[in-house]
């Protein structure tokens, strides 16, 4: 696989104030601030489970590429779009490096 790295952002983690649970294989998330409930599809759910603040976005993209047996380049665009969407909804915290945001 290519060694190209997603340049920005690198470090991500789930917003620690959220309530979430995997129920029957699907991720359900509730934001206490606006009481909105979100449901993630299978791919987004796999991403969510790994977004623990310990892995970089690049590492998670590689995990997904392996899990679905697709080229890394193919999955990067989807992952970046997903990160942007989750970050906009304040479900995901994003920083420019590893560690605490």
């Amino acid at each position: 696989m290519t060694s190209n790295v997603i340049t920005s952002p690198l470090a991500i983690r789930r917003n620690p104030k959220l309530a979430w649970r995997e129920i029957d294989g699907e991720i359900v998330i509730i934001s206490p601030e606006d009481s909105r409930v979100h449901e993630l599809n299978e791919t987004a759910g796999l991403f969510w489970r790994e977004a623990d603040g310990k892995r970089s976005l690049e590492e998670i993209a590689r995990l997904l590429a392996d899990a679905y047996d697709v080229p890394l380049e193919t999955i990067r665009a989807d992952v970046e779009e997903l990160v942007a969407d989750l970050a906009e909804k304040n479900l995901l915290l994003v920083a420019d490096g590893r560690g605490d945001q």
Partner: protein, 388 residues
């Protein structure tokens, strides 16, 4: 009541799979008020320790519980409450609290927000201090509870007023509605005064008569539900109340309620019941794991097997659609989980009449006296409710 498609699917799935989506966990029965209608024994008979509570939370998270309500008694009497909340936050629960809020100040309200507590329900019995304080038997309690509501609101928490109606505060109904509007919070008027958990029915004498409740039933803004949206919505979907009971959701179809299907109750002593209003012992967390009780308890399975269409009398009732029958109250007041009970029939008839049904009579009231199968005398109910 509306629900969102996401919540509807979630409830449907958890009912089909018997997953404990909602858990009501009373952390203590101790209380700093002495409400005249309370169904609890406030003595501490051996509450779960901090480590026991945290272990239960681990088990609930593992079992799939998402919505967790901490209640009591008064939860702020537990010195380890914030430790418990912090642990629950780390486990990803959606957190709600029920409290009289006497011990909630600005600093504690801020801490609750920081811990991601989503909803706080505060009991208010009247907007008049003399009436409210006479119910709680604590002078100054109304003033303190209202101050706490303001502190919680300032932190952006969702606050709801709960007002159980009884003889003592029936005339206060309108004042509570106005107070809720002034505070900018939704409210729920609760017409249910229950027997005590040990089966003692003395609290029932505080109930208002059905005819006294008629003006409130007539008020479309009440009907035992919050008038303002108690919102939990999916992104982009209409706002709507979803979590409070969910019994209107079609997923429950032929079920009598959610108890034992995707919700249950845990007492401060580790007893698990299908619901706080259904004190039917199914197991104890000091002796068994949660999943063992939830999945394998004979009583839990028995509750799960009950279908609306099997109810002895109510399944044939022509005004069933107007009835808010509660299986737990049917057990405590009528002696039979599957039977009718007087209060539900009375209120259903009033509601049906209000809706324009001519001379509504419940199926129970149509039956010849003494012809009710399966009902045991009320005096024997207490033995059936004894805690494990």
């Amino acid at each position: 009541m509306s629900s969102t498609p996401v919540m509807d699917r979630l409830i449907r799935r958890t009912v089909q799979l018997s997953l404990p989506l909602n858990v009501h966990f009373d952390l203590t029965y101790r209380c700093n008020e002495r409400c005249v209608h309370c169904y609890l024994d406030h003595e501490d008979h051996g509450e779960l320790t901090t480590s026991e509570v945290l272990s239960v939370l681990d088990q609930l998270a593992g079992a799939g519980t998402l919505f967790l309500t901490f209640s009591g008694g008064e939860i702020f009497l537990r010195k380890d409450l914030f430790e418990i909340l912090e642990y629950a936050r780390r486990l990803g629960f959606d957190l709600s609290l029920k409290t009289n809020a006497l011990l909630v100040d600005a600093s504690r309200a801020e801490k609750l927000r920081e811990l991601g507590v989503r909803r706080v329900q505060v009991s208010i019995y009247s907007a008049e201090p003399a009436v409210h304080d006479a119910v709680t038997k604590v002078k100054g309690s109304l003033e303190r509870s209202i101050a706490a509501i303001r502190s919680l609101k300032r932190q952006g928490l969702q606050v709801k007023i709960a007002c159980p109606l009884m003889k003592q505060n029936l005339a206060s109904y309108g004042g509570v509605v106005n107070l809720a509007e002034d505070l900018g919070v939704p409210y729920v008027i609760d017409m249910t005064i229950t027997p005590k958990m040990d089966g003692d029915t003395s609290t029932l004498s505080l109930r208002t008569s059905g005819s006294d409740l008629l003006p409130i039933i007539q008020s479309r803004s009440c009907s035992n539900r919050s008038s303002a949206p108690d919102a939990l919505s999916s992104a982009g979907a209409p706002q709507g109340s979803v979590v409070s009971s969910g019994v209107e959701i079609s997923a429950y179809d032929d079920l009598t309620c959610s108890a034992g299907h995707n919700s249950c109750y845990i007492s401060p002593y580790g007893d698990i019941y299908p619901c706080v209003q259904m004190p039917l012992p199914t197991g104890n967390l000091r002796r068994q794991q949660f999943q063992e009780i939830w999945r394998d308890s004979g009583e839990m399975k028995r509750i799960r097997a009950i279908r609306e269409s099997q109810l002895h009398v109510c399944s044939t009732c022509e005004i069933r659609q107007f009835c808010e029958r509660c299986p737990g109250l049917a057990m405590m007041e009528g002696g039979d989980l599957m039977g009718p009970y007087e209060r539900a029939c009375e209120l259903a008839e009033l509601s049906a009449r209000q809706a324009g049904v001519a001379n509504p009579v419940s199926a129970w009231h149509r039956r010849p006296e003494g012809a009710l199968p399966g009902v045991i005398p009320a005096g024997k109910v207490a033995a059936a409710h004894a805690r494990t």
